[in-house]
């Protein structure tokens, strides 16, 4: 039983990186499909399309970040060994959930918005600024989830 705490924390880290990463992967994929369509007409838009395609990629980074924090917290990345009881492990697991869940869904939603904005710059390349802002509106909620995950992780006492 003494390993269970650590393993719960590892599960949390895995969920954070896995789900947020999947959300980003789907989102970036959706945006990429749309971008490829645009570039068949105008390959010169590669730079703009790449920028917009990259936007839903941040959830994956936030997930990775949270996962990293989580395993750092329980001492799996070098440093002094920490003894983690089941409750603390559960705490870490729960703390990882906000970014796992919000990262997954917001990544997909942001991908759709990015895809739509890629369509927009195909017709109006001068409006790139606005096209970049709309997907960022979606990302707000991933940022908030990341914030909550970090605050929760930070508040678990060992």
């Amino acid at each position: 039983m003494d390993q269970l705490g650590i393993m719960l924390a590892v599960l949390g880290a895995a969920l954070a990186a896995g789900f947020a990463g999947s959300g980003s992967a789907i989102g970036v994929g959706i945006a990429g499909e749309s971008g490829a369509g645009i570039m068949t007409e105008d390959p010169g838009k590669f730079g703009l399309v790449l920028l917009l395609q990259a936007l839903p990629g941040t959830q994956g980074i936030y997930g990775l970040l949270t996962a990293f924090f989580a395993i750092l917290k329980v001492g799996l990345l070098g440093g002094d060994a920490v003894s983690v009881n089941v409750w603390q492990g559960l705490g870490v697991l729960f703390a990882c959930l906000p970014i796992a869940i919000a990262g997954y869904y917001s990544g997909i939603a942001q991908g759709k918005t990015s895809a739509a904005c890629i369509q927009m710059i195909a017709k109006r390349p001068e409006e790139t600024g606005k096209a970049v802002i709309l997907p960022a509106m979606v990302e707000t909620y991933a940022v908030l989830a990341l914030l909550m995950s970090i605050i929760l992780l930070n508040s678990i006492q060992f």
Binding site: L51, K130, I133, L144, L147
Partner: protein, 684 residues
């Protein structure tokens, strides 16, 4: 907070000098043409200025000729530009200084160049290449079609043409049905014909067959064949010999075509190298002249006189007058203020320190003519927020070095320069925030032994460590949010006062200010700050604010009950203010994300450096690759999110765009920079 004042200028000019007047205006580059349709709605005949009366070379070029020249040069550039090797690379052309030329130089170049001939050559070359391409693809299709029959020893004209009595048919069929097709076919023809089924492997679902039979039996044969799933494929005309011979013939023909295409393509490469530089210049000239023509015909014109209506910034009027002086005998200039109800174009007039931020205002939308220019009030917030979101001294240095290099190397101008300056300022802000939070490429200075000597120096300026104490940093972020939002409300209040809407200023903005500040004071005192007096002040202020809002927010509604209801419901908007403030928590989150990603890179570098033999190599790779990735991702995130805070949280309090950007008549060139006064000095 300034939108530059503009004047409405009307120039009445004799036709003889109209071209030259427009050319001087274009060289001046500060006059926007008012199209008469939109300015007063009078429908009129659109008359182009008489061109034969002018003396200059480009001017005498008729409008139809100008348009064909434009489309010729556009075509040449579209066809040849992708093949042209840029001197010094793409970046140099996009960002580098454009070569200076004068209109006369361009004109004499234009005279010497046979644009039409070049365009004709280029068009025929392009057509030749595309014809050869389509021929090649046709040949490939035919080869593909005949391949299954390469062992068939039957001249294909029987299939493609047939004789009076004999008929050949080619087609596909499911491979499983090949036996049944063969049996039924042999039954019908009774020895007078033949069938060939192409060999197929077990995996192939479909195969091909050729049937040869007497014409009289055609209907019968086709009916029975279609029962076996046979579906006819037309044999292309011109295929005569046996499949083997035809394949050989077509393959060698295809090889020849490939050779010719290669030749034509290398021809177009030389063409590109020879022509693109001069055609680019000519294209610029044509665009300039076309803009002139367009401007010259924008106003009304009578037999001898044309009018030009212009928007000109007030501070440029003197320049305009002096540049028109040479023509003063033949023209009349009339300067006016914008008429009420008119919608003049917008020029942002900001002090030098704020001008790097003006692209951000343009991105959102220009202010209206008597609105507020948000650039100056937004600038300090954007500067600080960008720094907090990036929040790393090392990344700030990397980014700053990059943009400083670009600024110095390419001598940029206009909005590109503003934008690069903005990012340079952002990097300065990031270095400051990084120093205060002790983040230099994350925790690099703490984890790598080489940095031991500067550790103390780094720590000496650190004031807060967001990694260890996120709550304090969160509080700072939210406090900044409150400050910016209250500031936004204050600006709106000032704007309302300025416009004389006292009730709106006190009711809308005053009410919210009182309520929000009151609640904040109340909250602060309940955390033990200040005594009972503060608590009472907070409560009183909130009450005053709430009462004001309830009393005023329904003032447009009829009837006491609906007024009261709207008033009370408006209090619900407090949630949107709450949401706005919480949105500023991203300052902490993004700053933390930067440091944490940098920390991950450093940790991984430390981990792999322990691997024997290759560890140092991996460590270098991960360190530089990782930090490069991190700086790109984080700069993008920092920019977008600090911009969003301005647009969504700040601008929504006081700013609405809706203005039209000032687009003066000027030298709109893509490849060159036109110097001189734009009028030809030489006589052609």
């Amino acid at each position: 907070m300034a939108v530059a004042r503009v004047k409405r200028v009307r120039i009445l000019s004799h036709h003889d000098i109209l071209e030259d007047v427009v050319a001087s205006l274009q060289a001046l580059g500060c006059c926007e043409i008012i199209r008469s349709e939109e300015s007063d709605g009078i429908t009129r005949e659109r008359s182009s200025p008489p061109s034969e009366s002018t003396g200059s070379g480009t001017g005498s070029r008729g409008l139809p000729r100008l348009e064909t020249d434009l489309s010729d040069s556009r075509f040449i550039l579209r066809f040849l530009e992708p093949l042209f090797k840029e001197e010094g690379g793409m970046l140099e052309r996009l960002l580098g200084p454009k070569p200076p030329v004068t209109i006369s130089e361009l004109n004499s170049m234009m005279e010497k160049t046979d644009l039409q001939g070049m365009a004709a050559d280029a068009r025929s070359l392009e057509r030749r290449i595309s014809e050869m391409r389509s021929e090649i693809s046709q040949l490939s299709n035919h080869i593909q079609l005949l391949k299954p029959f390469k062992d068939l020893d039957l001249p294909m004209w029987i299939v493609s043409r047939g004789t009076e009595k004999l008929r050949g048919v080619m087609g596909t069929l499911p491979s499983s049905k090949s036996c049944s097709l063969k049996d039924s076919f042999l039954d019908i023809i009774e020895g007078q014909g033949d069938i060939y089924i192409a060999p197929y492997s077990e995996k192939e679902q479909e195969t091909m067959a050729v049937l040869v039979f007497q014409r009289s039996l055609e209907q019968q044969v086709m009916e029975s064949a279609s029962l076996s799933g046979f579906s006819r494929v037309d044999c292309p005309q011109g295929i005569e010999d046996t499949p083997q011979e035809e394949i050989q013939r077509m393959t060698s023909l295809r090889e020849t075509l490939y050779g010719s295409i290669n030749k034509a393509e290398s021809e177009s490469l030389t063409m590109a190298a020879e022509w693109v530089p001069s055609v680019r210049k000519i294209y610029d000239l044509l665009v300039v002249v076309a803009a002139r023509h367009d401007a010259g015909s924008s106003g009304e014109s009578s037999e001898k006189v044309s009018s030009l209506d212009l928007w000109v910034p007030s501070d440029k009027i003197r320049e305009l007058e002096s540049s028109l002086k040479p023509y003063s005998t033949l023209l009349d200039v009339n300067i006016d203020d914008p008429r009420p109800g008119e919608n003049p174009p917008i020029i942002l007039d900001n002090p030098g320190w704020a001008s790097p931020f003006s692209p951000l205002t343009k991105l959102y939308g220009m202010p209206s003519y008597d609105g507020i220019d948000p650039t100056v009030v937004m600038a300090p917030f954007f500067f600080l927020f960008f720094g907090m979101c990036l929040g790393d001294g090392g990344y700030g240095l990397v980014m700053g070095a990059f943009f400083l290099f670009a600024l110095v190397r390419y001598r940029l101008s206009g909005d590109t320069r503003n934008f690069f300056m903005l990012l340079l300022l952002g990097s300065v802000s990031s270095i400051l925030v990084g120093a205060v939070t002790g983040s230099w490429l994350g925790d690099m200075i703490d984890v790598f032994g080489v940095f031991e000597p500067i550790r103390a120096l780094k720590n000496s300026v650190v004031m807060i460590r967001p990694m260890n104490d996120p709550i304090t940093f969160l509080a700072i972020s939210l406090a900044l949010g409150v400050v910016q939002i209250l500031f936004g409300i204050l600006i709106a209040m000032w704007d309302a006062f300025r416009k004389g809407d006292i009730a709106g200023a006190l009711g809308d903005q005053g009410g919210w200010l009182a309520l929000i500040v009151g609640i904040l004071v109340w909250g602060a005192s309940s955390f033990g700050i200040g005594g009972n007096g503060v608590l009472f002040a907070g409560k009183a202020l909130s009450a005053i604010g709430a009462i004001t809002l309830v009393a005023t927010q329904g003032r447009d509604k009829p009837g006491v009950i609906r007024k009261a209801l709207s008033g009370i419901l408006s209090l619900y908007n407090i949630t949107s203010y709450l949401g706005d403030v919480l949105s500023y928590s991203r300052l902490l989150a993004l700053g933390l994300a930067t440091s944490a990603i940098a920390m991950i890179v450093n940790t991984l570098t430390g981990l792999v450096s322990g691997i024997p033999y290759v560890g140092w190599m991996l460590a270098i790779l991960i360190f530089f690759g990782g930090h490069l990735f991190s700086v790109v991702v984080n700069v993008l995130g920092a920019f977008i999110h600090s911009l969003r805070l301005q647009y969504v949280e700040f601008f929504s309090k006081f700013y609405s765009g809706g203005g039209r950007i000032f687009t003066p008549l000027k030298f709109e060139t893509r490849y060159t920079r036109i110097t001189g006064n734009g009028i030809e000095e030489t006589v052609n």
